[in-house]
């Protein structure tokens, strides 16, 4: 009879084998749906453009050159930094930051409210928060466009009530884009903060009050540091998609309120098609987001060490 000692290595090896097999679907998923598209995008950004969309398999830095370098209208002037696309990026970042701040300002109290309801009714509130998400984002954005247009129900209602004397110009403004982003991504702020607040031990707030802390001090010194991971997760979940959003700026913002998402989308349309440039803009956007995430991760691990 083989003892347990002689049996163990064999068992361990077969266990490792099984583990590899069990992990295979996950790796396949990540590979096919995450790594492969990104790799494809990276490769495309270094190829030469075909006039009516598509690419020619020939290495080229033209896409990045177009993004960063300005050689004048006919390409014969000395190279300077191209500001056009950086301006689009800058505007998008500001838009996304404002949207994130708005979502946080409304989302935090909302999440707090839901998390402090009796357990039995929390589900109902969460359900109500997620109900709009059963409808496609495109349809919701178009509906929003209908709601706020010049002779839409909102303007008509305000006029009828006598709050305003002439219709407000809401459509095709920065306000409309903000509204669209806020409306699209608010639940992504509410849900992670809810999860954090729901786990928060309210005895800690009592302990702080018992130790002479005011309500504000308790919020600042106890509550916020503890639910911070939820807040940061919510901010990232709103900021990142807002940065690359194209439905809200396209449908609600008009031509003036162009964002990165719209810029990328344009490049993959048949008429204007410049796939390598679209891919390059995507890569630059992704690098930017990645840098932000890395900065956050480094920050988080630093405070962990403390």
């Amino acid at each position: 009879m083989a003892g347990p000692g002689t049996n163990a290595p064999q068992g361990e090896a077969s266990f490792r084998n099984i583990r590899v097999q069990l992990l295979l679907p996950t790796w396949a998923m990540i590979g096919i749906f995450l790594l492969l598209p990104v790799l494809l995008m990276a490769v495309y950004s270094f190829l030469t453009k075909e006039m009516r969309g598509g690419v020619i398999w020939e290495f080229s830095l033209a896409a990045y050159d177009q993004f960063f370098v300005n050689r004048g209208l006919f390409g014969d002037e000395p190279a300077t930094l191209e500001w056009t696309y950086i301006a689009v990026f800058w505007r998008s970042i500001v838009q996304a930051l404002v949207a994130t701040a708005l979502c946080l300002a409304i989302g935090f109290p909302t999440a707090w409210f839901i998390a402090t309801r009796p357990v039995a009714t929390r589900g109902v509130w969460l359900f109500l928060i997620t109900v709009p998400y059963w409808v496609n984002l495109l349809i919701r954005t178009v509906s929003l466009r209908f709601l706020i247009r010049e002779n839409g129900p909102l303007n008509e209602g305000l006029l009828a009530l006598g709050v305003i004397s002439e219709p407000l110009a809401m459509i095709n403004t920065n306000f409309a884009v903000q509204l669209g982003l806020f409306y699209s991504y608010l639940p992504f702020m509410v849900l992670p903060i809810y999860a954090a607040v729901e786990r928060y031990n309210f005895a800690l707030s009592e302990a702080a009050a018992d130790l002479y802390a005011s309500r504000w001090t308790t919020l600042r010194e106890i509550v916020l540091p503890i639910v911070k991971p939820g807040i940061i997760a919510g901010c990232l979940l709103v900021f990142v998609p807002s940065l690359g959003a194209f439905l809200a700026p396209n449908l609600l913002g008009g031509a003036k309120n162009f964002m990165i998402g719209s810029l990328i989308e344009e490049q993959f349309k048949k008429s204007l098609g410049n796939w390598p440039f679209g891919a390059a803009v995507s890569m630059i956007l992704m690098s930017l987001v990645l840098i932000l995430l890395l900065l956050y991760a480094r920050n988080a691990s630093k405070s962990e060490v403390r």
Binding site: N201, A203, L204, E206, A207, A208, A209, D210, L211, Y212, A213, S214, T217, I222, P225, I226
Partner: protein, 352 residues
């Protein structure tokens, strides 16, 4: 005269549930006072009202003569040790202990010094820079204690602080808490459902039930002179017999036990009639048949230090008694006829 804490006609209603019904009691300065009762009796509600986490429905709470019932918790010079400790997880042990001092506006060097002293007092100096999660339950308990004592409260409130600890640690902490109370001279108000904890630590105990105080007294008074069935039954073990009482003279009742045996015992009531009689199991001894009460042994339960003897009186009532598991004790077999001797103070007539 006013004590450290005067509870005057305090009632608390949650929706349709009355947690406290006009409770009045006075806690002396420098006292270890315990609120004892089963869960839902209102003891924790009363503590939370004193701390300020709940607002009174009616009544006054006086702290050294000043009504604090309408103050916010952060304006009350009392501190609390919470049941699950409620240590701030994102702060070090030292920062936890210094938090109250910081909120009171003490400068950083002074509060670090004082917090260090507090940690020394609870033997945790070496753990100052740890996170609370890195400590054991008993250590967290002591941090909570140090944190609550650091701002030198006039009254310390303790909400079942030992209930999360294992038995050995709980017993050690009882002595430590009692010692700490005597050393600091701070009034402790201690909430527990554990009668043994209450008896071993308290100067006085208030036994509560269903939002009302049943009895207030020293551990000895509560144990040896319970006023009603609830107190007699909740504190320690007891035999309750329903008896008819012909007359009560000078607090002494003439009671006829089932089986016809007659005894005289102290009474918590002056009214004759049908009452309950409490007989403590450890105040009875087994004697040869022929003297005193007569009974038949039903069963014997081995408890280690003690033996629990279940008997049936000749009148039909079941009782239990406790005898020490000493070498000289002869254990009667079930079915044996025995006599029962009631020692001084074994029996007491209750009000209900």
């Amino acid at each position: 005269m006013s004590g450290a804490v005067d509870i005057r006609g305090v009632a608390k209603v949650f929706g349709t549930f009355t947690a406290l019904q006009r409770v009045s009691l006075s806690i002396e300065d420098n006292e270890f006072f315990t609120l004892l009762g089963p869960s839902g009796c209102g003891k924790t509600t009363l503590l939370r009202l004193i701390a300020g986490f709940e607002t009174v429905t009616e009544g006054e709470i006086l702290l050294f003569g000043q009504n604090i019932a309408n103050l916010e918790p952060n304006q009350r010079p009392v501190n609390t040790v919470f049941q699950q400790y409620a240590l701030f997880p994102h702060m070090s042990v030292l920062e936890n202990v210094a938090f109250g001092l910081k909120m009171k506006g003490m400068d950083a060097p002074s509060r670090t010094k004082r917090a260090g002293e507090m940690l020394e007092m609870v033997h945790l100096s070496d753990f100052a820079n740890r996170a609370p999660a890195q400590l054991s339950g008993g250590q967290q308990q002591r941090v909570a204690l140090a944190r609550a004592l650091a701002p030198q409260p006039k009254v310390l409130l303790l909400d079942e602080p030992l209930s999360a600890l294992d038995l050995k640690l709980r017993q050690a902490m009882r002595l430590e808490l009692k010692q700490l109370q005597q050393d600091t001279g701070i009034t402790f108000i201690f909430v527990t459902h554990d009668q043994e904890e209450a008896l071993t630590m308290s100067n006085r105990i208030a036994v509560m039930r269903a939002g009302q105080v049943q009895q207030i007294g020293t551990p000895r008074e509560i144990y040896e002179a319970p006023v009603n069935r609830f107190v007699a039954d909740f504190i320690g073990e007891t035999n309750l017999l329903e008896v008819d009482v012909a007359a009560i003279v000078d607090g002494q009742a003439q009671v006829v036990l089932p089986g016809g045996f007659q005894i005289t015992c102290p009474s918590a009531t002056a009214e004759a009639g049908r009452h309950h009689l409490s007989i403590r199991p450890e105040r009875m001894t087994l004697v040869p048949v022929g003297s005193g009460l007569e009974a038949t042994v039903q069963n014997i339960v081995y408890l280690g230090t003690d033996l629990q003897v279940m008997v049936r009186l000749d009148g039909g009532a079941d009782m239990q008694l406790r005898i020490q598991n000493a070498a000289r004790v002869q254990v009667p077999a079930p079915g044996t006829r025995v006599g029962l001797h009631l020692e001084e103070g074994a029996a007491r007539l209750l009000a209900d």
